[in-house]
Amino acid sequence: MTRQILEIWVGVFVAAGIAALFMLAMKVSNLSTVSTGDTYEITARFDNIGGLSIRSPVKASGVLVGRVSNIKYDKDYSVAVVTMSIQNRFDSFSIDSRASIYTAGLLGEQYIELVPGIEDNYLEDGSDVVMADSALILENLIGRFISEIISK
Amino acid sequence: MKSPLVEITKLSFNRGSRIIFNNVNLDIERGKITAIMGPSGTGKTTLLKLISAQLEPTVGSIMVDGQNIHGLDQEELFEMRKRMGMLFQSGALLTDLDVFDNVAYPLREHTRLDERMIRYLVLIKLHAVGLRGAAQLMPSELSGGMLRRVALARAIVLDPMMILYDEPFSGQDPISMGVLMKLIKTMNDNLGLTSIIVSHDVNEVSAIADYIYIISDGQIMDQGTPAELEETASEWAKQFLKGLPDGPVHFHYPALDYAIDLFEIS
């Protein structure tokens, strides 16, 4: 085998490997759908966040506008403080927007849905969303449902 | 008189509990051909490996060209080894390179010669061992004798100051044996290099060696020029050199008494 043929093969191999990595990153994983632009952060306080976790999606009308970037527990008020990174191009959430935790499908992952209000001032970096609805906890619902059935 | 190139003092070496060398003193003169002879398994190959610092002595020191070769760091040792050639008993060619590239290997590693010059030097050395026509063969396509001759060409390609030959003649037909003898002799005389030959071929060695050491049982049994040995050799050396089955030399690896072993008497 000549040196040149060997070099060509190695070149093909490396190119195929890099192409495969690229394909997995862009076509298989969500890298291409993750925002790369700048973000601003807003926070919201929930009584119960259910199964929400860091990197959970934040949506408006079903469109991905950002992700959960931090979750803390505020022991003074006994609430969870959730920080969301919202992409800069979605900059028109009024200050009376409502943040609710929903579940995709019956058992799917949990996400935050932002519903804009009617004010003319918009949320900006560091703002706090006043209106926050906690997660619907499936176990609680089922528990209530069962106890209702039993009590009948 | 010039100081010897290799000075071995009080050398002892063990393999596990087995003593290979026991307090050996031995000098290799510059520009001479020194032969090391001795029964199979006495440690001739081991001695060459000690001299080239592939093995560490248990006790004693080995000076090569005025330097304690076991006290050198890797860089100094490699500098020293560039001036040494070694013909391994098995040839030890690099199996993934063809004959030409094997011989060219030390040149490509240690010199900045251009390809034309390398080709020139390699072909000269291959021609000297009669294998210029085999340049494009792979080591797996060579016979044992050819393999050894390629290894010889590789050992001499850098024109070292000292060459260690481990059994250069074994496996060679009478013609290539003669050619190799002449080659070793001429290189020694013309280039002034020092040769150490390990060999069993008494006649060949006597013909070209300037000095002979006969070692056995971890000691030097006899030494001298071929002529001296011819005349004054001990019973021991006489038996060894003439190849007689009976005498003081043991043909057997140390063992229990034959009869005891055979009939399992304990």
Binding site: W9, L21, K27, V34 | -
Partner: protein
């Protein structure tokens, strides 16, 4: 009674002997690795050495990886479809195939194939070089075998593994696509969209890549050390080659569990 005592002592003795042995081997393999690291800069001065090894380690492993990846992907498509169709969620087939391959099967199966194909070849090659005194010959020619022989092989193994695993996962995803979409009628768009929605770049893809990096490192290290440390006889080479595949495979499976646990912990 005395006999029993003597036997017990003998058992402990051999146990102690063995653990001492394995400690000693661990020490030697660590020193070996240190020497390899020290020699790696040299490889960048001689890229040709690396290219040669990328050929024998990477290119020669690619066929088996392509074939295995395709079949594993196809079987995932088949099994996944049959499970998901019970819940009426066969549109999530892409999710299942993608996640399984990227997170687990891609790195692990590729590493096992790598140990069997490239690792055993590396061990046998080094074992043969040792048996035929080629290492000694190199040293006598004032050439450091670590720089010339071992470091390029190490680097090639380390670099090849992530690429091979990526190729495995990529063809596997197309294998699953072929079975799921072409043969079983899952919606084309759903296959890709569901996959992309649930395979996270950091949590799934990158963690998979990290696994392959670790596996490549460990499998290559074990293969080279077993060869370098082998008993220089033909029997010794055979034993070393078997050992190399067994040890590398076990190491990969064990490390996979540890890495997975760590990754789930931190996410």
């Amino acid at each position: 009674m005395q006999h029993f005592l003597r036997k017990t002592v003998a058992v402990f003795e051999s146990l102690g002997d063995r653990s001492l042995d394995s400690f000693e081997r661990l020490g030697r393999s660590t020193l070996f690795l240190v020497r390899v690291f020290k020699s790696i800069p040299f490889v960048f001065l001689r890229p040709w050495l690396l290219i040669q090894q990328l050929y024998s380690v990477g290119v020669l492993t690619i066929v088996i990886v392509l074939v295995a990846g395709t079949f594993v992907g196809m079987v995932l498509g088949l099994q996944g479809y049959n499970i998901l169709v019970r819940f009426n969620s066969e549109s999530s087939l892409g999710t299942m195939v993608g996640l399984t391959l990227v997170r687990e099967l891609g790195p692990v199966v590729t590493a096992l194939l790598f140990a069997g194909r490239a690792g055993s070849a590396l061990t046998a090659e080094l074992g043969l070089m040792k048996t035929t005194e080629q290492f000694s010959a190199l040293e006598m020619m004032a050439v450091d075998p670590f720089k010339r022989v071992i470091a390029p092989r190490f680097l090639a193994g380390f670099l090849s593994m992530p690429m091979l695993a990526a190729i495995f996962s990529a063809v596997g995803i197309y294998g699953g696509y072929y079975v799921g979409v072409y043969l079983l009628g899952v919606d084309d768009g759903a296959y890709w969209a569901q996959m992309q929605k649930s395979v996270d770049f950091h949590e799934d893809f990158m963690n998979g890549v990290w696994k392959t990096v670790v596996f490549g490192f460990v499998a290559t290290w074990i293969a080279l050390f077993e060869g370098y440390d082998s008993v220089p006889t033909s029997e010794g080479i055979g034993r070393a080659t078997t050992q190399s595949v067994v040890n590398a495979s076990l190491a990969v499976l064990g490390l996979n569990f540890i890495l997975t646990a760590l990754m789930l912990e931190t996410s």
